[in-house]
Symmetry: C2
Subunit: 357 residues, 2 copies
């Protein structure tokens, strides 16, 4: 049987474990996999674009485990009362090709994205960073805030969203987290004095959430919302003042903020920093940008973490999705046995049981 983690059981897992310990655990798994980045198969995600959004498949493998994630991005969904992003994922055994583990990933993706952001900031933000501006207070915002708290030691989060209700929701959810929460009335106010600026807005277009004059020396920008062709959040002038870090250059040049720059603009892949191949932040005055679009290896890490942690919790169900005849050559025999009287049932001419086809 294939293991399955439902939405309901994911919520129970998080309620029992606590979100912060999960973010911390995810960060450990992510750093392990970033450090062995070269061991993974890397192909750009396979996107199916339509008028309202995109559906993507994100596969990878380390030669022993294979994973893929199904994820959509439909900014217009919010106006219909639906999630912008939903996702689920699968781990499989490379040696047999059998799926092993299926999980909801709408929630897990928000967690892993936040954990990736925090891991990147640990290598790129100024040491001692304590204040983060959080621009865009939608579905991913609280996860970002908590990841930066637990992984980086952020103490104050300055919120801004063009929708005051979203900001209130975020502030309410973070109340009692131990973070100092400041509601701001503009992007300018939010970023004033921030060590880190996280942009996580959802419009599917070229937007300028941050303009050049808002970004002072030494700031680390965690740019999450620009993640497909035509969707960006930063003014190109900021990019040109900063050192830019991405997950996978080939994918980010198409989907990230750097789609606004020439194809040969110098960038660094985050794994190179984590593996000690290239420097992260080099000085206190440098502006660093993590231009994050998400990559399959991060989902691999998240699924691997979840599978390890949720075993023996009673929160894993069996999913009857893998046909396993006793004799592997006798797939047909499974049907015959189900029908009890092979010949007549298989011909579909027997009485008694109503025909469906």
């Amino acid at each position: 049987m294939v293991q399955f983690v439902s939405v309901s059981n994911m919520l129970k897992f998080l309620a029992r474990s606590g979100v912060e310990p999960v973010l911390s655990g995810l960060a450990r798994y992510l750093e392990e996999d970033f450090a062995r980045w070269e061991a993974f198969e890397k192909v750009p995600r396979i996107a199916s674009h339509s008028r309202d959004g995109v559906i993507e498949l994100m596969p990878t493998s380390d030669g022993s485990l294979y994973s893929f994630k199904y994820v959509n991005g439909h900014p217009a969904n919010m106006r219909k009362g639906l999630q912008t992003v939903t996702a689920f994922g699968v781990l499989a055994d490379v040696a047999t090709g059998y799926p092993l583990f299926v999980s909801e990933m709408t929630i897990l993706t928000a967690l892993r994205t936040a954990a990736v952001s925090a891991v990147a900031a640990r290598h790129l933000a100024r040491p001692g960073s304590r204040v983060m501006a959080l621009i865009g207070n939608g579905a991913q915002s609280e996860f970002q805030a908590l990841a930066f708290k637990v992984v980086l030691g952020i103490e104050e989060v300055r919120l801004f969203d063009i929708d005051p209700a979203a900001m209130e929701k975020c502030a309410r959810n973070l109340a009692g987290s131990g973070l100092s929460i400041v509601r701001c009335t503009s992007v300018q106010e939010a970023v004033a004095g921030a060590d880190i600026i996280t942009t996580v807005t959802a419009d599917k277009r070229r937007a300028t959430i941050l303009s050049d004059n808002m970004v002072g020396a030494g700031v680390h920008i965690n740019a999450i919302g620009g993640d497909c062709p035509g969707k960006t959040e930063l003014h190109p002038d900021i990019l040109e003042r900063a050192r830019i870090f991405v997950e996978l250059a080939a994918q980010s040049r198409i989907e990230g903020e750097i789609q606004q720059l020439p194809q040969d603009y110098p960038i660094t892949e985050l794994w190179e920093v984590i593996a000690g191949r290239k420097p992260g932040r080099r000085s206190a005055g440098e502006i660093t940008i993590f231009d994050s679009v998400g990559f399959a290896i991060e989902d691999f890490s998240a699924l691997r973490y979840l599978r390890d942690r949720i075993q023996d919790s009673g929160l894993v169900e069996d999913l009857d999705i893998l046909a396993e005849p006793e004799d592997p050559r006798d797939l047909f025999g499974m049907i015959a046995r189900e029908g009890h009287t092979p010949a007549s049932r298989i011909k579909g001419r027997s009485g008694g049981v109503p025909a469906l086809a």
Copy 2:
């Protein structure tokens, strides 16, 4: 909730409906979608190759529905008592990106592959074909035999497999189907007098199941087993005497029998015949080959058929894989509500419930 068809419910569906009516229904859906082939998004499947096999994702979309299939091919699995091919698939709504329908596809793939073969033969085999040689009597063989019976009117199936136990299994499963079953002791004996030759063997290598002198004028060859780089079943001399039909030229030139021919060798895509754009068989003496490797649109058709037919049967379960917060911006609130006392639980410091992470 997302709809789910388990292996167990797929077996019940087939037992109730009968395999032959399902094959016949699948053939109708396949012909509909082949006829509107140009409406679909077509990308080569995304393959992850390893020493023992391959894991593939096969996505497509008609602009309204999106589908993908996860499928593996591991010939060595059989020696471990495992299935060579296992699969599952998903239908999703292009407008929202939400998954709608998840199904086992190990059994459904065998059914759709057989139905595609029979649809192709209806356009390519000599009218009045009544005898089929079935070379390779593994997991897919019975489905092929029944599809050719119900879609094409095949009356006699001549079996051969290098493993006599596989042949016996196939013969036993087809007993009572109304087909006349002949057990043969060699490929030569099986193909003698056959109107159609189906090759469906599983070795992952260049094999010569059929050599040139076995294939007489007017025969239609349904070549199923050669379906990845390095895996072929037919001697190239046969290919050069025949007119060759494939699903998608770009994919088949890499994975099909025609990987043995120059990249510009003339071939015809099956949809062009079904849509009336190009001729199928032109004379009684012509040798035709359907060099089948499987394509995503066929899985789309199969999932679409199953979803339509299995509704209201009691055989569809709810799969709790789609997180749907009441307020789509408040994904985090779902966790907080699950934990009841947001602040303490989210911090993971509350007593009472054992921590997992």
